[in-house]
Amino acid sequence: MLGEGIAKGLVETARNFFGSYVSRERLTTVQYPEERLPQVEAARNFPFLVYDGDDWKAGMRCVACQICEKECPPKCIFIEKSKDKKPDAVGKPQFYPAVFNIDVSVCMSCQICVEVCPFEAIKMNTDFELSTDDRFCGLLWDKERLSRSNEYYHGIHPTEAAEVDARLAEEKAKVEAKAKAAAENTPQTISGAASTR
């Protein structure tokens, strides 16, 4: 008969109406500023620069190779290479970025910079409360604004950060082993070189 479906629908909406006052499971809304859902580990927003240790200037992993700048699809990264060199995480003397700016109003969170970085220096942040009243300088983040410690990285992406640390340690060990071998072989090579001469 005409109207049966309407009656059924009315019963359903009435059940929703009263049910939402009785059982809290029905209300799926998260009242955001007061309540928050835990963030998913794979969440990502804008890139940040990782540094080791306590001093962001000294521990910065970035060596200003400018690969990310070249690969960035929307061209939101701006890097100026330093004139001098300083030792990096592994101990090799390297350049460092004199200027490292990311325009987050341009950034599209594609993560390509992270994937191309050979030094594990740039990673994706999860911080999303970034509103600012200055739409130019407030959205152009400099080196200092972008730096976050390795501990912070462990805090937001524990699994990924552990993998990165393992890889870096492996690399460091390899370099150290090579250095040791080089140190042991140094006299020989010198003598060999001398002999050939």
């Binding site: 005409l2 009315l10 909406t13 049910g19 939402s20 006052y21 209300l27 799926t28 809304t29």
Partner: protein
């Protein structure tokens, strides 16, 4: 005591008028009533917007507005400030005068309907002999204003919305008026006050409301369906279908003019509900004979709130109709039912009191409903969709 509480506003007005010089008394009395009506129904509008949003939210398992003030009850205030401070944009190609007049005419027409609504015992602005006629005349001015809005905006969406609105409102005005004629027939008067007085008696504890008779019930349901369509509310909100034609005739309205449209629409809805209450739900009379001590205006507003709740409930339940469904429903279902209902009312009037007249009239209501409903539903059978070329 009950009598005093019932007549407190009437007495208050009389007392206020008593302080003015004799020459301006009639005008002053009218002005007081008008101001009171404007204030009461505008604040009812403010209350309804927040209640509706909260109710719809709960129907969809959401909280609804809960940020402004305790439980979000100050939301209308925030909305009002927002709409007052917004830029008032008039499209360059628009007909500026008509564009400005449309919301004004809408609100004026909507408020003028209250002139004949008895909101309580002795509480009616103008007891016209042709009150119901005046009411429908005023309500059809709303269509004109909607078409003014759609036409003057010079926007295809606006015009489409206005055309839909006019087609819909004219179609549904026919069953609306035919449904209300039943009450006029039974009461023998077009005056809203007389119609309410005719329903004021009690048999046992039950009132003599027209809705408690077979023809009255059918008439009430038809009236309310037509009212939903008249006030452009879901499921008959095609004229402003946000997903199809971007709010229809008020696409080009912003700021305070948009708020006026919103106000006019709700005020019109309240007025229509008020007429439904007057014609079928006994106006300001109490629902049970031992409750007559409660002031009459409280009953009117309780019934009005009940009707508003029904509107919100329906809006939260039903999806929007298609244009052909809308027209079929008006002309093939509601119009025949309303016409048969007129005959039923006549039969009810001339049959002797007793069980026989109940049975005859109930059959006259239920059988056409079932048959017409079956006829209407014939086109609705879901079939397997066959594609001629894509198989």
């Amino acid at each position: 005591m009950a009598e005093a509480a019932d007549q407190i506003f009437v007495a208050l007005e009389r007392w206020l008028v008593g302080h003015t010089p004799a020459g301006v008394r009639p005008v002053f009395a009218e002005v007081i009533s008008v101001v009171a009506l404007l204030a009461v129904f505008a604040s009812l509008f403010a209350m309804t917007t927040v209640l509706e949003r909260k109710g719809l939210g709960r129907i969809q398992n959401r909280y609804g507005p809960n940020r402004v003030g305790p439980f979000g009850i100050l939301q209308p205030l925030a909305d009002g400030i927002k709409s007052l401070t917004k830029e008032d944009i008039v499209p360059q190609a628009a007909d500026r005068i008509v564009h400005f007049l449309a919301p004004v005419v809408l609100v004026l027409a909507a408020f003028s309907m209250y002139a004949v609504l008895p909101v309580g015992r002795n509480m009616v602005l103008a007891n016209l002999d042709a009150g119901v006629l005046f009411f429908f005349a005023a309500s059809s001015v709303m269509e004109v204003s909607i078409f003014m809005a759609g036409w003057s905006s010079r926007n295809k969406y606006s015009l489409l919305g206005a055309m839909r609105a006019v087609a819909q409102m004219i179609s549904y005005e026919v069953p609306l008026i035919l449904a209300s004629i039943t009450a006029v027939m039974a009461a023998g008067s077009l005056s809203t006050v007389t119609i309410v007085e005719k329903q004021a008696g009690y048999t046992g504890i039950l009132p003599h409301w027209f809705v408690l008779t077979p023809w009255g019930f059918a008439g009430f349901v038809l009236f309310m369906i037509a009212t939903t369509a008249e006030s452009n509310r879901s499921p008959f909100d095609l004229p402003e279908g946000e997903s199809e034609i971007i709010a229809g005739y008020f696409t080009e309205y912003s700021g305070f003019k948009f708020a006026l449209f919103f106000l006019g629409e709700y005020i019109g809805m309240f007025a229509m509900s008020g007429l439904g209450i007057t014609l079928f739900l006994g106006g300001w009379t109490a629902p049970l004979s031992f409750l007559t001590w409660v002031p009459s205006y409280l009953w009117f507003f309780a019934k009005l709130l009940f009707m508003i709740a029904m509107f919100i409930w329906i809006r939260g339940t039903l999806p929007r109709l298609r244009m052909d469904q809308l027209m079929n429903f008006a002309w093939k279902f509601m119009l025949p039912l309303a016409l048969i209902n007129l005959v039923t009312t006549g039969v009810w009037r001339f049959l002797p009191h007793g069980i026989l007249r109940w049975i005859v009239c109930a059959v006259m209501v239920v059988v056409p409903y079932i048959l017409l409903g079956r006829g209407l539903a014939q086109g609705w059978k879901l079939k397997k969709r066959v594609y001629r070329f894509a198989e």
